[in-house]
């Protein structure tokens, strides 16, 4: 599904010989839902109407430019109005517009009817990742840019993006949906406005803090469909991809069962004692996924924008204050309340890591139990 052949747009002839070299995608995808195909049809209809009008208008202009010239000795006419002509070129566009508005309105009404869904998935936008929640199944997870893309996309990394599989379009945890069932997505956000856009599903909807939007899709064929955030949401707006995997129903059920098992295992992990090495290893993973976007992998932050952790008052100061700021965030800044996002074990691990990495040799470790206690 990723590589599509060229669909006739404008100028295809000119560019076709180059298709062997790279991905010269010209047109909107037809997509994998009935509505995405209908939207594609509307897009093409409007495009061809515009091309038709363009040919007439630019054609008349070109004829005039080549014939009605002074250097060809053409004498200027003196007419300067014609009520008939002006009525014609007001009425004809009006008729064309009405004939466009009718199918567009019909499609719009279908698109906006999210009732009688088989399944609901709640999507929450964060700076800069997505959270997916399946309320009926009790599944909930975060989805962020995979570490290979993040590494390669660092300024001056020297890594060739072409060498990364699905550069900037790969995530750690994809959202999974069943095919052939009406899936209703609910959209909201935790901090600023984001927009969830997957072209093949023809869904683009703003995720707005304090509000819940909805949109639906009934995907017709299994596959992987990719997209990314479409509303400017700060520094890493370009780095919050979306990966949707559509599975046959049986495969989907299996995925659900696996997710539930993993959730149970994670919850058990938070109830036991962890060794220092375990905490540091897990902590580095969590730091890379959740913290490095701002505080940087080096812990040096970005001066004036994101504070450094190396030698910071918090990371080398009182342990409870450190747990507190990770759990509750800092209002008025981009520092989020990770208490809602990460498990006790992950928070314990990342705090341990922060206090012992980048030359912060505090030597102390934090157990999940301490985080659990701090939550109360």
């Amino acid at each position: 599904m990723e590589r599509r052949t060229i669909v006739a747009g404008s100028l295809p002839m000119l560019l076709t010989p180059l298709t062997a070299l790279a991905d010269w995608e010209l047109n909107m995808p037809r997509g994998v839902t009935d509505l995405s195909a209908e939207i594609y049809g509307l897009h093409m209809l409007t495009l061809w109407i515009c091309v038709g009008i363009g040919i007439i208008v630019f054609g008349a202009m070109a004829y005039s430019i080549s014939h009605h010239r002074k250097d060809k000795g053409h004498k200027a006419a003196t007419f300067h109005e014609s009520t008939t002509a002006e009525i014609i070129w007001t009425i004809i566009p009006a008729i064309i517009l009405v004939s466009l508005a009718i199918p567009a309105a019909q499609a719009l009404i279908k698109i906006e009817d999210a009732s009688n869904a088989d399944l609901t998935i709640k999507v929450t936008g964060y700076q800069w990742k997505w959270e997916y929640e399946y309320p009926e199944e009790g599944i909930r997870f975060f989805s962020s840019l995979d570490s290979k893309s993040r590494e390669a996309s660092t300024l001056g990394s020297g890594i060739d993006p072409a060498s990364i599989d699905h550069y900037l379009r790969e995530v750690d945890n994809p959202v999974v949906i069943p095919v052939g069932r009406k899936v209703r997505f609910l959209f909201t956000a935790n901090d600023v406005i984001h927009a969830w856009w997957v072209p093949d599903l023809a869904i683009k909807k703003d995720a707005i803090p304090g509000f819940v939007n909805d949109m639906w899709a009934k995907v017709n064929q299994p596959g992987v469909y990719r997209g990314q955030c479409a509303e400017l949401c700060g520094k890493d707006h370009g780095f919050m991809p979306i990966k949707v995997i559509a599975l046959e129903d049986a495969d989907y059920q299996q995925w659900v069962a696996e997710q539930k098992q993993q959730a149970a295992a994670a919850s058990a992990a938070s109830d036991r004692e962890w060794s220092r090495d375990e905490l540091l290893t897990q902590g580095q993973k969590v730091f890379t996924a959740s913290c490095a976007a701002c505080h940087q992998a080096t812990g040096l932050g970005i001066p004036g924008v994101f504070p450094a952790l190396k030698g910071s008052k918090i990371a080398t100061g009182d342990l409870n204050a450190h747990i507190g700021i990770v759990l509750h965030g800092k209002t008025g800044t981009t520092m989020q309340a990770f208490g809602k996002q990460l498990s006790d074990a992950d928070i314990a691990a990342v705090i341990t890591y922060e206090r012992n990495a980048f030359g912060n040799n505090m030597g102390d470790i934090v157990q999940p139990a301490a985080v659990k206690a701090a939550r109360q």
Partner: protein, 528 residues
Amino acid sequence: MTVPADLTHEDYGGHHGPRKGLLRWVTTTNHKDIGTLYLWFSLIMLFVGGAMAMIIRAELFQPGLQLVNPDFFNQMTTMHALVMIFGAVMPAFVGLANWMIPLMIGAPDMALPRLNNWSFWILPFAGTLLLSSLFVEGGAPAGGWTMYPPLVLQTGAAFPMLIFSVHLLGISSIMGSINIIATIMNLRAPGMGYMKMPLFVWTWFITAFLLIATMPVLAGAVTMLLTDKYFGTSFFNAAGGGDPVMFQHIFWFFGHPEVYILILPAFGIASQIIPTFARKPLFGYKSMVYATASIAVLSFIVWSHHMFTVGLPVGAELFFMVSTMLIAIPTGVKVFNWVATMWRGSMTFETPMLFAIGFIVLFTIGGFSGLMLAIAPADFQYQDSYFVVAHFHYVLVPGAVFSIMAASYYWLPKWTGHMYDEKLGKLHFWLSAIFVNLVFFPQHFLGLAGMPRRIPDYAVQFADFNMISSIGAMGFGLSQLLFAYIVIKTVRGGAKASDEVWEGAQGLEWTLSSPPPYHSFSVQPVIR
């Protein structure tokens, strides 16, 4: 600054022409001096905003981050838009209005000359305030020129600078508009009824009303942002009972008329230039005036088409889709009328005419993508993608900016008394016309293929068209240096321009000498 001798001895109520030196420009109340100041300011800002665009396109030349970090990239997109809209295009149109409206209606000067001085001199301060935010802690605003909360509230020390510079720019625009309206209503030569005014005067008259109606709305919106950030209000904060979407409604209630503020004067310019070089009167004068007025009225009831994905009720989506499509009708009338003006004329193709024709063709392409964007279901795919970037750059660059270039070449001989270098002018046109399409046409494909706007780095399938676009951008940017060179060369000297300048030119401005006397029409002409 040297002043032609015939201007310094003008006996006019104790005035003795312009002052000497720098003070002439600081204290001037002369419409031509102020027009000149506006135009130079605008040209400088064109290069400042253009340099930002070059940084953006250089970073987007290939995937991966090579030059700037994402935060600085966002500062560049935000500042590029603000500088180009409020610093380059709007002041250029006000500059043209200052120079040309008194000449076109047979007036000695603008109606409110001191206000005129103020409305210009606020601008350099507003611009400096805005640009200096690049150097404060946390950098310049990076939340987009649309300033959507809550994101914009994360701006650092630059935030109040952004808000106050927007206030200053708005005050300047409002004062300029009041002056234009007062001038047009009061200082027309005897016999020049409203329906005899040149189209450029008409389009500016309507634009000035749009400015007065919408700038206070923008000022209100940004003031609410300011109090949300510093004084604990919650206008746009959902947690405090506010509504972040309300900002978007208020912003676009300003923003959509703003779009027409940037294009209506361009319509006026095309309507002046096409008849001159077709040697044939403008086709459908009355319908041109009515079309402009209806576009202005419609501009107030289409704003939510910028927000089709925020979750509007389906009824609102239908309304804004249909009202937006309606705009195609008066806009179409204008394009058809320009073509009908050219039809069976006796055309020559000097640089202003080339830019005017380029304007009509490329603006129409931007209009077509505008019609596509109006179709709400399809807009769910286009919204916030590069398709939108392509669309609005087609209407703003080969639209508004080309019309300003056309006007500059058209009136430069009148302003300076010298002919510009026609060969270089034509070269400038062809370079600009080719490169501008190379920059923006591939962006349609990028948007349709799924590339969002305002991203510093992209998936590798977007690499090829981005590279083409970046090459086009560098070419377009460099071509504009040629424009600056041509303008400076013309100011400094050149073949003497006649009063009429162009063979087919009609209108009062061509009855005065080139350059016109310091106080334009000391004696009002009478229109039969």
